[in-house]
Amino acid sequence: EKADADKPTNIEADQMFSDDVKQITTFTGNVVVTKGTLLIKAGKAVIVEDPEGYQFITLYAAPGKLASLRQKQDSGPDTWLEGYGEKIEYDNKNEIAKFFTRARVKRLQGSKVTDDVTGEYISYNAKTEYYNVYNTSEGVSKPGAGRVKAVIQPREKKSNK
């Protein structure tokens, strides 16, 4: 949700290695990233900080698992987005999350899944709450490449009084 933009970004892990010259910090082991309602979990995270102080975080799933992201949406009460992939790239400045390889994005209202999308690469913009799905991990859809699948549940009609 929009309020997340101004919140501090917290990262926890078992170990950390920071290279001040290259401005790269690597976290390994049970990595948890939180920022307001945003919650990302992975096995490893590599953070690059730009001169303005924004972070670009690349998260890699632990072996045999998928990295996961969960964030509350403004588009409705108790509406959440969940995303999965073997790799997640999170741009802390533009609030864009990219899910790669076995990528999946679900939108939930409470516990009910309203959207369920899978593909090779899914890009999700937290500001606009839009996501794009591609059948290749280069972010360009090609005929004959991977499969994209989307299940969109009908929205409940707003009763006009």
Binding site: T9, M16, D19, D20, G53
Partner: protein
């Protein structure tokens, strides 16, 4: 000169006597040396108290090429001969990193051993690095830091907290290499990035 069997016997006896004399004196001398060094070592071993104290000092150390390596000050330095070690009250160590940033590390107490190659900083250790054109101030604090000045490496097995520009890091156990500007945290690593423009000092 009487030549004959008697004189040969006398020469032989003289030689034997001289050899025995040398051996006796030699063993006496060796015995004395051993006993003296034993007593010296014993004396040293007994001597756990300091042999000199310096107050309000400034200590400069140069690199092999003559360039300053670091400067150390303290309100009191106590020397212990038994290990050739020093205990320093209120130590402050000044050094410049490769980017000409002044680094200062201070604590309540420091214990220096192994010919000044290991400096144990204890109790309220604070290291400050002044900001540069591209980087904000850096501050590391812990209850214990071990410095290897010749290798420009610092380690700790205690909790460390690092304020670095817009972020605050913490964890248990660390190693920092000043020459390569690398920092490792070994357990329970945490970092908080404040949104740019809002640091948490």
């Amino acid at each position: 000169m009487i030549q004959g069997p008697k004189s040969v016997l006398r020469i032989r006896l003289a030689i034997i006597f001289t050899v025995v004399l040398i051996l006796t004196l030699g063993s006496l001398w060796i015995n004395m040396v051993i006993r003296k060094s034993a007593s010296d070592a014993a004396a040293l071993e007994q001597r756990t108290d300091p042999d000199y104290i310096v107050e309000n000092f400034r200590y400069f150390r140069m690199k092999p090429d003559g360039q300053p390596q670091y400067e150390a000050t303290g309100t009191k330095m106590t020397h212990f001969p038994v290990e050739d070690s020093h205990l320093i009250d209120n130590p402050v160590i000044y050094s410049m990193n490769d980017y000409s940033q002044l680094q200062t590390i201070r604590s309540k107490e420091a214990y220096v051993e192994d010919f000044n190659t290991k400096i144990h900083m204890r109790n309220n250790v604070v290291m400050d690095r002044e900001p540069s054109a591209s980087k904000g101030p850096f501050r590391l604090s812990s209850e214990y830091v071990l410095i290897y000045p010749d290798d420009e490496i610092m380690t700790s097995d205690k909790e460390v907290i690092v304020h670095d520009g817009n972020s605050v890091m913490s964890g248990i156990g660390m190693q920092a290499n000043n020459a390569t500007s690398e920092l490792q945290i070994f357990n329970r690593a945490r970092i908080t990035y404040n949104p740019p423009g809002r640091s948490k000092h």
